[in-house]
């Protein structure tokens, strides 16, 4: 169960790093993107395999736990990326608020809940393309296609879509060059 939570957190952090690196000076770094995708793959595999075993055993997934706030090296340095945010799929079975992130100091923590039940006022209307924009898996703005890329259409409100989205993001990291 702890591995599951850890995997989710790592996945969220990785995805936010990936999106942040698109606006980095000097362009996308292939090496870094590769390493991020490897970590994401491990985390995703562990997360999904542990969720499958949850579903099989019929157990409820554990309630949300706050992020580890014990003193760690991370507190001494600012996270250069925006807040890691849980994906919609991670919260699809819960209506509790998303995990507050305490590793960043000086930034507002954005709490994104289950997108289906979100009141319009809370929905993020930020334009993508800014470094501080939230990673948003429901495409509110169409991304520019790289040559050879296909557009994946995701039906809104589909909880399970998150799975294919994660697959999408991992496989599409590298060809972004």
């Amino acid at each position: 169960m702890e591995v599951n939570i850890e995997a989710r957190r790592i996945l969220a952090v990785s995805i936010s790093k990936l999106y942040a690196s698109r606006t980095q000076r000097g362009g996308l770094r292939l090496h870094r993107s590769l390493l991020l995708s490897l970590v994401m793959r491990s985390a995703r595999d562990i997360y999904h395999s542990s969720r499958e075993s949850e579903v099989l055993s019929g157990a409820q997934s554990a309630p949300e736990e706050p992020m580890d706030t014990s003193s760690s090296p991370g507190e001494q340095t600012r996270l250069p990326e925006p807040q890691p945010e849980p994906q919609p799929v991670l919260n699809s079975t819960e209506t509790a608020p998303g995990e507050p992130d305490n590793t960043e100091d000086g930034c507002d923590s954005e709490i994104i809940e289950d997108k289906e039940n979100l009141s319009p006022a809370k929905q993020s209307r930020k334009r993508r393309g800014k470094a501080s924009a939230a990673p948003d898996f429901l495409p509110s703005k169409r991304a520019r296609l790289e040559p050879g890329e296909e557009r994946y259409e995701v039906p809104l409100g589909s909880c399970r879509a998150g799975e294919s989205l994660t697959t999408l993001s991992l496989n599409r990291v590298i060809p972004a060059f």
């Binding site: 390493l35 490897l38 562990i46 001494q76 996270l79 060809p175």
Partner: protein
Amino acid sequence: VTGSPGGDMQWCFSQVKGAIDDDVAEADIISTVEFNHTGELLATGDKGGRVVIFQQEIENKNQPQFRSEYNVYSTFQSHEPEFDYLKSLEIEEKINKIRWLPQKNAAQFLLSTNDKTIKLWKISERDKRPEGYNLKEEDGRYKDPNTITSLRVPVLKPMDLMVEASPRRVFANAHTYHINSVSVNSDNETYLSADDLRINLWHLEITDRSFNIVDIKPANMEELTEVITAAEFHPHQCNTFVYSSSKGTIRLCDMRVSALCDKHSKLFEEPEDPSNRSFFSEIISSISDVKFSHNGRYMMTRDYLSVKIWDLNMETRPVETYQVHEYLRSKLCSLYENDCIFDKFECCWNGNDSVVMTGSYNNFFRMFDRGHRRDVTLEASRENSKPMQVLKPRKVCTGGKRKKDEISVDSLDFNKKILHTAWHPQDNIIAVATTNNLYIFQDKVN
């Protein structure tokens, strides 16, 4: 003149270069440090695209205990920020690597590179200027030819030393991905440049073409599993070079075998310890630097937690492994969140290959004495910067009771990292770069 760093030898502060200000300007962040082949010159490159060269003053024979100091010799802007209009990408001016050419004449030459372009710089001295022109006054105005009644030969008169840097060659447009290494061949005519997926071979005189000698780009980028992280020519065998990968492997290639060296002659790889497996196993096994020993029999690799020495005749495992900061293994998740896990540490050999050195966090750097199986942790800080002050070995407390003078892992400052270090090729003088300062230490002479 090299001894062992552990017991008999002590390291002393010599100099520190750079701003004292705690507020670091991004352009001042040092990105590479390199001694030339005699050690007389020490070059640094920074994120702002500048190169600063220090020169060792002639030794003061009357005071042998004070080894000569390094003073600024030349400063120039090597690279400027550029924009790739086709890809809408900014190209950073940060100097990734500097490599000196062996000296052939009065001038000095070095290669400096950013992510995309390599430049050959000529650094030359001018300490004389001609005086007594026939057609010009001293201030440059032209004389009326009718007033000239006799001819004289201009004479060279001494002037204040001027050091000029001029770009002699620009090697551009050969790399799609980001350049991580350049290495001059022992033939002194060619050099290689490596990016994430390709290695190119250049002739120093020819800028409009290069030969691709390694290409690991897969036909389908979705199948990409590893990238090239560093490459270096063998110090004596001009046909041999190595390149390291993000998977922790090193490939040795022989250019005589075929034009394209995709197929390696040797593959150096150590099987992973399954008990150490974690989410971050791949990241920490990625090799950040590879360096041949001066004698050409060994090579050293640096990954996130360790330094490994490989015998070129044994591919199955390294002959020596040194833990740089093993106490970080339990902190990998935090180091991933704050991006430190992506830091690329370099490593270097001393002149006779008996000691290796690499950097760590909290402005610590580590030396490993191979022969005496001793290691030491030292710190580069302004607090220990009195002239000839002996550096006290530091110790990180890994658990349990913290002894006096020890520092606990949680107190380490991960913003203060030493990524770049260099060792004088003959002497016990080292250059250690903190974020924006360059420290020079030397061994205590009696």
